[in-house]
Amino acid sequence: MVGMSVLRSAAALAGRLNPLKSNIPVGTLLSGSALKTEKAVVRYGSHGKKMFIIKPSDYYDRRFLRLLQYYTLLTGIPLAAFITFVNVFIGDAELAEIPEDYVPDHWEYYKHPITRWIARNLLDDPAKEYEKMMALVQMEQEKTEMRNLQMQVRRHMRQKGDGAWFQVETIDKSLIDYSPKATPDN
């Protein structure tokens, strides 16, 4: 009788632990047969069961992108609007032949109105820049020539010795003591 109950509980255990069977919840350990409960088919009216998805915080990433967007658009939008209005209401210049006896100003060689404005108000005339560079070149040329001349003069004066440079100061002639010469057979 005891063996029979041991066999029965062993069979129940085997039945519970069978991997091929689905996970059937058991009521108590002493129940002879496994409790069978079917899965209920639930149809939701919403998008399914609300899940609480656990993932790391993306607050900092989104904050960074938000701030990036904000600060670039803060000056980006006025700039884009300004450029659009300039292009729509003022527009590009048209190419034309230079009329007779007319010398165009230096900004009248550019097409876009903003480039023209910059050339007119912020930058110098390209001819002026050219002349400024030429002035620098001339100063450097004069310096080079001077240095070259000085080098040659120095070399000549050193070699020949009869120039104004490289003269060694000798002592005054009146300071020479000729008294040993008074007695030649000394």
């Binding site: 210049a93 048209e94 190419l95 165009p104 009248e108 550019y110 030429m134 070149v137 001339q138 040329q141």
Partner: protein, 169 residues
């Protein structure tokens, strides 16, 4: 005067035949073109016309600058750095002009190829010859000078060419 010359790239006369409708079925190509016209072409053209009318009230012009010719690098006395500077600037301007010339020849060849379609190998010979000539000349003059090209280096290259000519002949 426009920025580009429309007469420089002439299009051949159109040879589309007149379509005579023989069936009662609708022509899908015609429907497609009409759809494109009313949805894309017309609004874009209207927008352009509005903008042009706004822009056209105050017209102003820009010009191409003419630079005076100055003595070349070969005509400069040695040590005259001012003359060197002016010759260098003139050489740089001429270099830019030559680059633009090559670009124009490339554009012409490209336009010819687009125009002719599949028969470009046959019909584009003149453009091809001219482009070949211009490209060879540019290569001979400015070929391997590199990024730090200089009027002096270009002059040395010319000297090399002149030295090689009697050797080749």
């Amino acid at each position: 005067m426009k920025d580009h010359e429309p007469g420089a790239y002439p299009e051949p006369p159109k040879q589309t035949p007149v379509v005579e409708k023989e069936t009662a079925l609708p022509n899908p190509a015609l429907i497609g073109t009409k759809l494109f016209y009313y949805s894309v072409d017309l609004p874009v053209t209207k927008f352009r016309e509005i903008i042009d009318s706004i822009r056209g009230r105050n017209k102003y012009y820009y010009y191409h600058q003419n630079f005076r010719r100055v003595p070349d690098l070969t005509e400069c006395v040695e040590g005259d750095y001012l003359c060197y500077y002016e010759a260098e600037m003139q050489w740089r301007r001429d270099f830019k002009v030559d680059q633009e010339i090559v670009k124009i020849m490339q554009d012409r060849l490209r336009a010819c190829q687009t125009r002719e379609g599949p028969s470009y190998l046959q019909n584009c010979n003149e453009e091809l010859k001219k482009f070949d000539q211009v490209a060879k000349a540019f290569d001979a003059r400015y070929g391997d000078l590199g990024a730090n090209a200089n009027s002096r280096r270009c002059l040395m290259k010319q000297k090399q060419r002149m030295m090689e000519k009697p050797q080749m002949a």
